[in-house]
C-alpha cells in the first residue's frame, strides 16, 4: 500500500463523513486497485448521493473495469446533477465514440472542451472524431429515413479508438468490446427515427413522422401532436421574457413517462417519450441522436 493511500485511508477512518473518499478512491483507481476503489466510492455515495464528482469517479472506475453500461449510467447521473460537468461529458463522448455514434460523441466532447481548453487528449480525440465524420460523409453512409438504415461503421476503422490516458479524469474506457450506449433499450442502434415513441410534429401540431402507442395500444400520435401545437411558441416567449436566449429543450417528468422535446427547426418539434425508469439524461441523449436524423430528414424533403 502506498503512503498516500495509507494516509488517506487513515483520514477517512478518522472521519467517515469526510470528502477524502474522493481522493482515496482516485488514488486506488490509479493504483489499479479497482475493487477497493469501487467500495470506497460506493460507500461515499451512500453519504453523498447528490455529489457529481462521486458519480464521475465511480463511472471512471466502472469504465476501467469494463462495465461500460454502468459507466454510462453513472455519467448520466452526473449530468443530471450537474449538466455542465466536463468529466461526464468527456466520458460519455468517449463511450459514444467507441459506439461509433460520432455526432453524439462530438457534442459531448466539445462541451467538455469548452470547460477544459488545455486538455490536449480531448482536443486530439475531437480531431479524430471530425476526421471519422468526414470519412463517413465521403462514404455516404448517412441513412435516409425512407431507406433501410446503413449498418454502423465498424468500430475498428482506420482511425483508432482513443486510448486511455494514464491519469486524466474521465479517461477513455479500456478497449473492451462496446455494448453501445446508443443501443440501450428503447433506442434504435441504427436510424434513431425508426423508433416507437419518437414524434416529429410541425408548428400546427400535425404529425410529420413517428408513431406513439397509448396505454391501450392504440395509436395516439396524432392526439399527442395536436397537444404540442404552440408549445414551441410558448417556450420561446418564456425564455425571451426571462432573457435566457434561445430555448433548447423541454423535459417533463410525469408519473407514467418521461417526455423530452427539442426543436430540429424553428417550425418543428421532436418529442421523445420513454418509460419513467429511464433517466431523463439518457432520454435526452436519445433525443439528441434523433435530432440530427430529423434535421437530415427535413433537409432531404422527406
Amino acid at each position: 500500500m502506498s503512503d498516500d493511500i495509507r494516509v488517506l485511508t487513515a483520514e477517512l477512518a478518522a472521519d467517515p463523513r469526510s470528502l477524502v473518499f474522493l481522493e482515496l478512491g482516485e488514488a486506488l483507481r490509479q493504483a489499479g486497485r479497482l475493487e477497493p476503489a469501487a467500495k470506497v466510492v460506493v460507500q461515499g455515495l451512500t453519504r453523498y448521493p447528490d455529489l457529481p464528482e462521486a458519480h464521475d469517479l465511480y463511472a471512471r472506475i466502472l469504465a476501467d473495469q469494463g462495465d461500460l453500461e454502468g459507466a454510462f449510467d453513472e455519467w448520466d447521473m452526473t449530468l443530471r446533477l450537474d449538466s455542465t460537468h466536463p468529466g461526464a461529458h468527456k466520458g460519455l463522448g468517449f463511450l459514444f465514440f467507441k459506439a461509433d455514434d460520432l455526432h453524439s460523441a462530438l457534442r459531448h466532447l466539445q462541451t467538455a472542451a469548452t470547460h477544459r481548453p488545455d486538455d490536449h487528449q480531448l482536443a486530439a480525440v475531437i480531431t479524430r472524431v471530425r476526421a471519422r465524420m468526414e470519412q463517413a460523409r465521403a462514404a455516404e453512409v448517412t441513412p435516409r429515413m425512407d431507406q433501410p438504415a446503413a449498418s454502423p461503421a465498424p468500430a475498428a476503422s482506420s482511425t483508432p479508438a482513443p486510448e486511455p490516458g494514464s491519469t486524466s479524469a474521465a479517461e477513455a474506457p479500456a478497449a473492451t468490446p462496446v455494448n453501445a450506449p446508443a443501443s440501450r433499450p428503447g433506442e434504435s442502434p441504427q436510424n434513431p427515427l425508426e423508433d416507437d415513441g419518437l414524434l416529429l410534429v410541425d408548428a400546427a401540431g400535425l404529425r410529420l413522422l413517428g408513431s406513439m402507442k397509448g396505454a391501450a395500444g392504440s395509436d395516439v400520435a396524432d392526439r399527442v401532436a395536436a397537444e404540442l401545437a404552440g408549445v414551441s411558441r410558448e417556450a420561446g416567449r418564456a425564455v425571451r421574457l426571462l432573457q435566457l436566449g434561445e430555448w433548447q429543450s423541454l423535459a417533463l417528468e410525469a408519473s407514467g413517462a418521461h417526455f423530452f422535446l427539442v426543436s430540429p427547426t424553428p417550425e418543428t418539434m421532436l418529442l421523445a417519450i420513454r418509460d419513467p425508469g429511464i433517466p431523463m439524461a439518457r432520454v435526452a441523449l436519445g433525443a439528441a441522436r434523433a435530432l440530427d436524423a430529423a434535421r437530415r430528414w427535413l433537409e432531404q424533403g422527406s
Binding site: W247, L250, A254, G256
Partner: protein
C-alpha cells in the same frame, strides 16, 4: 415574513437561481414571488402555467400519467417548474451554470411544505 416567502428564499439561496415564485396552475396568477426587478412576474406566471397545461395535455394524450418536474433549458439559463399542493406551481428561474439536480431536490422539498 410569510411561509411562502421563506420557502422561496430557500430556493433563491441556491447558487445560480435568479428568482422563484409560486403561482396558480390553472390561471397563472402570482401567489408569492421573489424574482429580480426586471422580470415581469405576472407574465412569467401566466407563461409557466400555460406551458405546463400544454404539456399536461400531451402527457394525458400519451397516457403519461401525472406531470411532475418540468425543465425548460435555454442557451442562457433554465426555467424549472414543479407542481405543489392545492393546484399551485413552484417556478424557478436559473442561470445556465445552476446545479439543476440540487435545485430540483430543493423544489421538491419546498413543494411539500406549501400549504
Amino acid at each position: 415574513m410569510s411561509n411562502h416567502q421563506k420557502a422561496l428564499e430557500s430556493l433563491t439561496a441556491i447558487h445560480g437561481v435568479r428568482g422563484a415564485m409560486i403561482a396558480t396552475g390553472d390561471d397563472g396568477i402570482v401567489v408569492a414571488e421573489a424574482v429580480m426587478e426586471d422580470v415581469d412576474g405576472a407574465a412569467l406566471a401566466a407563461l409557466a402555467s400555460s406551458l405546463t397545461r400544454r404539456l399536461e395535455g400531451a402527457a394525458a394524450a400519451a397516457s403519461g400519467g401525472r406531470p411532475g418536474f418540468l425543465h425548460l433549458q435555454a442557451t442562457g439559463g433554465a426555467l424549472l417548474v414543479c407542481p405543489a399542493g392545492h393546484g399551485l406551481l413552484l417556478v424557478v428561474i436559473a442561470e445556465r451554470g445552476v446545479n439543476v439536480g440540487r435545485a430540483r431536490l430543493e423544489m421538491a422539498r419546498v413543494a411539500e411544505t406549501i400549504t
